[in-house]
Amino acid sequence: AQSVSQHNHHVILSEAASLELGCNYSYGGTVNLFWYVQYPGQHLQLLLKYFSGDPLVKGIKGFEAEFIKSKFSFNLRKPSVQWSDTAEYFCAVIVFSGNTPLVFGKGTRLSVIA
């Protein structure tokens, strides 16, 4: 079964700092990869997704992620964070077949301070 590892439990950054959140998955076959964000007290929102093609994926709110197949990684990046980016970030993977569910990493809490 597939699994997802997010290396950082809690990241604290100052405004305008650059962000990179790590995500690794374990599965040998074809997968689709996602990053979700959850602002305090709110529901999940999809930031970006990778299915195929260009391994550099751009999402909403200035986020991007790079799929590196050889490293089984899908790290999330943003060049300059804002206070409003304070949230939980979840990496997730789904196997490209059948009805298998989306599997989430444990999440990374991002706190952006002024």
């Binding site: 689709n32 529901h43 999809l46 789904i94 490209f96 569910p101 989306l102 444990k106 999440g107």
Partner: protein
């Protein structure tokens, strides 16, 4: 229409109550899911329905009872819940093409 609609958005219930959460999608998706999410934790899979049949039950206590009356609807019946069952309950659906999953906004459940 790429929406998964969940009702109610908020529910407060006593430990002896019986209530239901409802999920609806009109995208023709044949796989539907229930997840449970506690604060600051990732969503945890509860149930998977495929073509209106229960295909995965992640050892969920029987006080949670899923139901799929038709291909557009997924219910979660709640009975004799505990305070620790308070959480955000998320519904999701997935199309046959396999590569897109849609989440509803969730139902915030508080058990008192």
């Amino acid at each position: 229409d790429t929406e998964v609609t969940q009702t109610p958005k908020h529910l407060v219930m006593g430990m002896t109550n019986k209530k239901s959460l409802k999920c609806e999608q009109h995208m023709g998706h044949r796989a539907m899911y229930w997840y449970k999410q506690k604060a600051k934790k990732p969503p945890e899979l509860m149930f998977v329905y495929s073509y209106e049949k229960l295909s995965i039950n992640e050892s969920v206590p029987s006080r949670f009872s899923p139901e799929c009356p038709n291909s557009s609807l997924l219910n979660l019946h709640l009975h004799a819940l505990q305070p620790e069952d308070s959480a955000l309950y998320l519904c999701a659906s997935r199309g046959d093409s396999g590569n897109t999953i849609y989440f509803g906004e969730g139902s915030w459940l508080t058990v008192v």
